[in-house]
Symmetry: C2
Subunit: 381 residues, 2 copies
């Protein structure tokens, strides 16, 4: 079986993108195909295209938008590492950035002169996103000069906006109805805010963990087991799973929140407390995230504008105004500060949370997969 | 710039293979291309096809053999990780296995009914290798049932033989003229054998390090700095570098050698002392190798048949006879025992060291690389 696929770097992730025409129709069959193509069973994914880290074991199936006002629909897959499973519960902003480039390069949208707008719907969560892709002269450049924290690599500038991200999974921005509460985990109490925006997320007050939120990645590694337990407990509180059902390691996202303070990035750069608004350290699956997932950035930003949350408290309710009249939140991650912009339309009540990203198409490939997927494809055809 | 490349898993490595027609002619220009295509500068290789581990940051340029009796020539590249460099000093047996498959699938050799023999020359070291690739009915299968220690993934069976591997780099199997000696490093003395077969290799008696040779990968991690210093010192003794010249992290290979004893593999399987002959733990660049590099296996095997070496001492000179009359060495690696066969032709004095391997073609790709490589290619064209 020969499956066309495109490898695109979006921000700090690599995503393998498939056209829905080239893969089976059912999610179960797509899951079999991805497990095989990535060699998900192997902890090093040595017999497949996976990169054996959470940020390089990602895929999406992209199709022409099925609804008016949507250019492309996509189904995001977090492919297992040493685990023959795919987690379908989340969205990925970095992959959405990659998909915007793919949509332009594969003709799923008409290229405009200057900036091409790609309106996307994430089929996992129903999230709506809009990407502005740099297309000078009506052409998608192969390379660009834009950078994101977490890598020195440059790419094509893409502005990614999450539209009305609140309540996408659970139906409410605050699924428990409370902006802040105590969560009991392993006999201890932690101060948390559970929020659903971008992705479901549990944000833990750093002080209640004995942390600051500006720890190094190595220090964060030591807290992965406890944060994994907190994620698991929060999933039940947020209605994402029953107490006795299996744990999903991709949602809710989990973050540690502290007040801004001087710190050193993973790249060795000093960041002063005045250069950002709130300190955040998150996990990506079972490891500290080198920067922050974009859906997590949306969650943190939504928490920042929601009175009573641990983020709102950490910034004392203060947001920076940016030059266009939007508000700006500067999130201090282990890779450096990442800015989000918040534009609220008072007339419609809608909110857009935007991020500056960069993406690059790395390769166009044909993947060879096992024959059972051929049969699966034949069944679905 | 669009460069065709093929991703092939050989044994426990992934290798990106290029046809010499598709890349610049000069090694410097190929180096620029690989640094760019792999995003070598980034520690996670996030903007390229590299896998950010030593076993997944490999490439080779393959061409029709330039000499009689050689089907394909190849130049092997160990691409840097967070380091914009390529190390050209070594060969890679896993990639040679991958290249054998590539040679058959890309028509560089004529496919035979049953087994296709691919005669290869490694241009880095001059090493000669011969691969027997399973081609039932004169066709290369896409998949196979063969396995190697270190992964559960299956692939097409390939028998890889190293021909007269001794002295390939330095001109002598024992570059210092001694089978065993004391090496002074960081004020301590270590008992070592420095051997050049497959690749230059320094083999350290485990006891002189206070080790057994059957350590876990986690335990081995703690000894990486000392072993790196030993490698660096041995490079000078073996004539691979001047005392004040830069250190190459790919050669000599470095291994810890102990007598067979019961141990647990990285996969959790118990191995009894009676199931293998010699305990070996090696490094791959700056980390413990999950199994053993094939050129290192050739070095260990050559040491096993060379009286006076630390390996010969560890096995007390005893080798297993195999069913075909060849001799067999069972090397106990962290991934489990790996067998090598030794066939010596008394008439010609030539020696073949063979290994059972498995390989699979993962994808055929077009890689997008920066424009400077277009200019580079234009210059060379």
């Amino acid at each position: 079986m020969r499956i066309p696929a495109t490898l695109v770097r979006g921000g700090t992730s690599k995503c393998w993108l498939f056209n829905s025409h080239d893969v089976p129709a059912s999610k179960d069959q797509i899951e079999s195909l991805l497990i095989d193509a990535f060699n998900a069973a192997d902890p090093r994914q040595i017999d497949g295209v996976g990169g054996a880290t959470s940020t390089t074991s990602k895929a999406a199936v992209v199709s022409q938008g099925a609804e008016r006002g949507v250019d492309v629909d996509y189904l995001f897959a977090q492919v297992g590492i040493g685990d023959s499973r795919v987690e379908w519960g989340s969205n990925c902003g970095n992959c959405a950035t990659a998909i915007a480039l793919y949509a332009v390069s594969h003709g799923l949208v008409q290229t405009a002169n200057g900036t091409t707008v790609v309106r996307m719907r994430n089929l996992n969560t129903g999230a709506r996103l809009e990407a502005d892709v740099d297309t000078p002269g009506g052409t998608l450049p192969a390379f660009g000069d834009a950078r994101v924290p977490g890598t020195l690599a440059t790419g094509v500038p893409v502005t990614l906006a999450f539209l009305d991200a609140g309540g996408g999974t659970t139906g409410a921005i605050l699924p428990t109805g409370r902006a802040q509460e105590q969560l009991n985990v392993e006999g201890r109490q932690f101060t948390v805010s559970m929020i659903d925006a971008g992705a479901p997320m549990v944000l833990v007050e750093a002080a209640s963990l004995g942390l600051t939120g500006s720890e190094s990645l190595a220090e964060m590694s030591q807290h992965v087991p406890l944060l994994t337990s907190i994620r698991s407990a929060a999933a039940v509180q947020m209605g994402l799973r029953e107490a006795d059902s299996p744990v999903d390691h991709s949602v809710p996202k989990v973050g540690v929140v502290g007040a801004a303070r001087d710190y050193i990035t993973a790249g060795g750069k000093s960041v002063a407390a005045t250069e950002y608004d709130v300190a955040i350290r998150t996990l990506s699956m079972h490891a500290p995230h080198p920067a922050i997932g974009l859906t997590s950035a949306v969650g943190v930003t939504t928490a920042a504008i929601t009175p009573g949350t641990v983020v709102h408290a950490a910034i004392a309710g203060n947001l920076q105004p940016d030059s266009d009249g939007a508000r700006l939140l500067r999130i201090g991650t282990a890779a450096g500060p990442i800015d989000t912009t918040i534009v609220s339309d008072l007339a419609t009540g809608s909110t857009r949370i935007g991020l500056q990203r960069a993406a690059r198409i790395i390769s166009e490939s044909i993947l060879f997969t096992r024959e059972f997927t051929l049969e699966a494809a034949a069944i679905s055809a």
